[in-house]
């Protein structure tokens, strides 16, 4: 269908990171004025591809063509000048600057070297009106709602005459009405000849707005097709349909013990009416899309952003942890999904990292190397978990992702809490370490610990969990037994209230 030069063409793009083949000969192209949806699971390579397009990463191989002309972006600014504008999920407006200043950031109009504020304001107003919006150019970006900030982001792209506009999960933080308006805007901008690459998990939106869709999986292009030929069911299967690797440890054949964690009707600003239990010896997976509340649930349980309506029992005793220290004392351990920011002391030794929890609770006058924090016992735990490092004196930052994760597990093993909350336990971890971490989790369960695994990695949720809880819009939307299909989980996770069973296939 595309004889004329495509507006954007990416051919055989390959990108390798240490230990990970992020993109393996990915190709896709969009015609002028097309809305092209890009979908795939987390880790499928969407964001890497976008970063290559935006000049953030340089591809190891492959070519990018704009209107048939080959280009190479050495820096994001080069890509921007070539007419590529990317609206990231995390909006990048400067909250303390006006809307007009944001729209013309980096391309400010000047007269005789002096900032031409009037032109800036007038032009910003014109761009916003073109988008059918009445946002005042003089208002502060930080005062706007997320929906209005999205519109300013689009105006920002138009201000540099972007020919390719990439939108990464633009509706993730919007409610249904605003999401609908945004989709109208997407159609309007594409009708003006701008090519739009639209990344989303929400099938309903993709069906509504996209002309064609490309599905990525494990860094490869699985298919590119027109939406007419791709009913939702086929898309979801293309996204998730993989051979389940057999590295998941066998489930326990014993029935689970008494409930260790019991939550009834808990709520806070982001969660409402959350009820579930986790029994001793059980691994319960929590699935859900970005913003579904699964991360908020972890933060609430550990007392970081605690439940306000409190109904939590640990081993039959009421618990109301108001901060992380109290939660740990009550018997909860949590492995953060952000090892770097919330977990490791990057410049301190493996041993220091592995003793952090015990040191936090050691009596004031206890030596930091007294039992159970001595190098001998710490090393025993580290060796037991098969942590590989040049030496346990090595700084944590030099370890691989899998070994870093094991060091954090070692830190909790010393404490041995009743309940382990694993958040994205294998994010940024290679396959061998993944299998090892699953085995560790299963061993903990076998020893009678209750395990809650919060993960965006569906195969992992399905392969490891005994039961699967699915969250949507701040509450539990459903429960499935372990071994349910990815389609079943996704069906509950992506269902819009408007169309509760749109995903059933």
């Amino acid at each position: 269908m595309e004889q004329a030069a495509l507006a954007l063409e990416m051919l055989d793009i390959t990108k390798t990171f240490p230990g990970v083949q992020a993109l393996d000969a990915v190709s896709f192209g969009c015609a002028r004025g097309e809305v092209h949806a890009l979908c795939g699971e987390n880790g499928a390579g969407k964001s890497t591809l976008i970063k290559v397009l935006g000049g953030v990463y340089r591809p190891d191989g492959g070519t990018i063509r704009l209107d048939g002309r080959e280009v190479a972006f050495s820096h994001p600014i080069v890509a921007r000048r070539a007419g590529i504008s990317i609206i990231h999920q995390e909006l990048s407006l400067l909250p303390q600057r006006s809307v007009a200043e944001n729209i013309f950031l980096g391309v400010e109009p000047t007269r005789f070297g002096i900032l031409d504020r009037r032109t800036m304001r007038d032009e910003a107003g014109r761009l916003l009106r073109r988008l059918g919006s009445s946002i005042a150019p003089a208002s502060l970006a930080g005062d706007l709602s997320i929906a209005h900030q999205q519109i300013v982001e689009i105006a920002k792209a138009l201000a540099i005459d972007a020919r390719i506009l990439v939108m990464d999960e633009p509706t993730a933080a919007l409610d249904r009405v605003d999401a609908g308006r945004l989709l109208d805007l997407v159609r309007k901008v594409s009708a003006e000849g701008v090519t739009i690459v639209y990344i989303s998990h929400r099938m309903v939106e993709i069906q509504a707005v996209a002309d064609r869709v490309t599905v990525l999986k494990d860094g490869r292009t699985v298919m590119t097709t027109t939406l007419a030929e791709a009913p939702t069911g086929r898309l979801v299967r293309a996204m998730v349909g993989r051979d389940l690797a057999d590295f998941y440890p066998p489930r326990s054949s014993l029935p689970p013990g008494p409930p260790t964690l019991n939550v009834r009707g808990a709520a806070n600003g982001q969660l409402h009416d959350v009820s579930f239990e986790v029994r001793a010896g059980e691994i319960v997976g929590v699935a859900g899309l970005e913003g579904s509340g699964k991360d908020a649930l972890a933060r609430a349980l550990i007392g970081d952003e605690p439940f306000e309506v409190e109904a939590m029992e640990i081993c039959g005793r009421a618990a109301k942890p108001g901060h992380p220290r109290a939660a740990i004392q009550a018997g909860i351990g949590r492995l953060s999904d952000d090892r770097k920011r919330e977990g490791l002391l990057m410049q301190q030794s493996v041993r220091d990292n592995a003793t952090l929890i015990e040191r936090a609770f050691a009596p004031a006058l206890r030596s930091p190397t007294a039992e159970p924090m001595s190098p001998q016992s710490t090393d025993k735990r580290l060796i037991q978990l098969d942590v590989r490092a040049a030496s346990f004196e090595q700084e944590a930052q030099f370890l691989s992702g899998g070994n870093q994760q094991k060091v954090i597990i070692a830190r909790w093993l010393a404490r041995d809490p009743e309940i382990f909350i694993f958040c994205e336990p294998t994010r940024g971890v290679d396959v061998a370490a993944k299998a090892a971490i699953y085995q560790i989790m299963r061993d903990l369960a076998r020893r009678g610990r209750a395990i809650l695994m919060i993960s965006s990695d569906l195969p992992e949720i399905i392969g490891v969990s005994d039961r699967i809880l699915i969250m949507r819009e701040g509450t539990l939307a459903g429960e499935l037994p372990g071994g349910a299909t990815e389609e079943e989980v996704m069906a509950i996770a992506v269902a819009h209230d408007r169309e509760p069973h749109a995903m059933a296939s």
Binding site: I328, L345, Q348, L356, A360, F361, F392
Partner: protein, 327 residues
């Protein structure tokens, strides 16, 4: 992933930094070199060396405390003003009377500890950046002090002057005290839970908090140690000057110099890494520069230029070595 199994042969449990020995050797070479160059070999005898060490005491004590604040990921700009407060308060309370010595020392230390609690609480509870919080507290202290005293206030008794002027054999009390405090500080950092928490909070405050460490108490503790060290420096200056004046701390530039020597000593300005021996080596380097310039008979201003260059060079070297953000 390496195949080699990780069993380190039970070593000292923390890597030692190369900074202290290098600075020590550099200082000695500089000192000896200048002494020989200018023919002042008398400076290489006991008295000369003791004099050099004596130069370290004032800055050294407060820099030990500053090391704690910086390791915990904080910083203290109020130390110079607190030193003035401590010196004036000590001599004002003593008024030359030996029987008031103990009371004066206790009051000065109590006031210092209180300032530390205030600094730490503003930073950890009100979430004000350490730079601003301690700058503000420092200005308040200086304002209160200058409003109450305009000149040398009171005096310290002969007995108290012994602190600065008496010796064990050839070693002055004050030099011995500096090294004893450094040994104590080193012990606290390496061998107590509090020390481990300081590194944890400075290395990753969020991670430490989620691990159950009471990060606010750790920050307050670091600032109490830092302020107490400033109080001790104030007492030392009162003893040495025989009286306290409201400008002694500011004139010594103890705030910026204490930060400079900590950083030169290899402690990360961002926190989480470092130690007191590096700081002490940095203090020695500054004292050596003073002594060298004196021997050369050069005015004080080129010395400032050199100090500035050394601070920049040191941080650049550490940054280059770790290829990361240092200061």
């Amino acid at each position: 992933m390496s195949d080699q199994q990780a069993i380190a042969p039970a070593p000292a449990w923390r890597r030692y930094s190369a900074a202290p020995p290098l600075l020590l050797v550099g200082s000695i070479l500089l000192y000896v070199g200048v002494a020989l160059w200018t023919g002042q070999t008398r400076m290489l005898e006991t008295d000369g060396v003791i004099g050099l060490l004596q130069r370290m005491v004032g800055l050294g004590i407060v820099a030990l405390g500053q090391t704690f604040a910086i390791i915990a990921g904080s910083i203290d700009l109020s130390v110079a003003n607190l030193i003035s407060v401590a010196a004036v308060l000590a001599s004002f309370i003593m008024q030359g009377r030996a029987d008031m010595m103990l009371a004066a020392v206790l009051i000065v230390l109590a006031v210092s500890a209180l300032v530390g609690v205030v600094n730490g609480a503003i930073i950890s509870r009100l979430q004000v950046s350490p730079f601003i919080a301690t700058l503000g507290v420092g200005l308040i202290l200086q304002g209160l002090l200058s409003a109450s005293f305009t000149d040398f206030a009171g005096s310290v008794p002969k007995e108290f002057q012994l602190v600065a002027y008496s010796t064990f054999g050839v070693v002055p009390y004050s030099v011995a005290a500096l090294f004893a405090l450094a040994a104590l500080a080193s012990f606290v950092l390496w061998a107590t839970r509090f020390g481990a928490h300081l590194y944890a909070v400075g290395g990753n405050a969020e991670g430490a908090r989620l691990a159950g460490i009471r990060t606010d108490l750790v920050t307050i503790g670091a600032h109490v140690v830092c302020s107490l060290s400033a109080g001790l420096t104030g007492l030392y200056l009162a003893s040495r000057l025989r009286s306290g004046a409201p400008w002694v701390g500011r004139d010594g530039v103890y705030d910026l110099e204490s930060i400079a020597v900590v950083v030169i000593g290899g402690t990360l300005l961002a926190g989480g890494r470092g130690g007191v021996w590096g700081t002490l080596a940095g203090v020695l380097l500054f004292a050596t520069l003073d002594a060298a310039f004196n021997m050369l008979g050069v005015s004080a201003y080129p010395k400032l230029v050199l100090r500035g260059a050394i601070v920049i060079l040191a941080v650049a070297v550490y940054t280059f070595r770790t290829r990361g953000h240092v200061a």
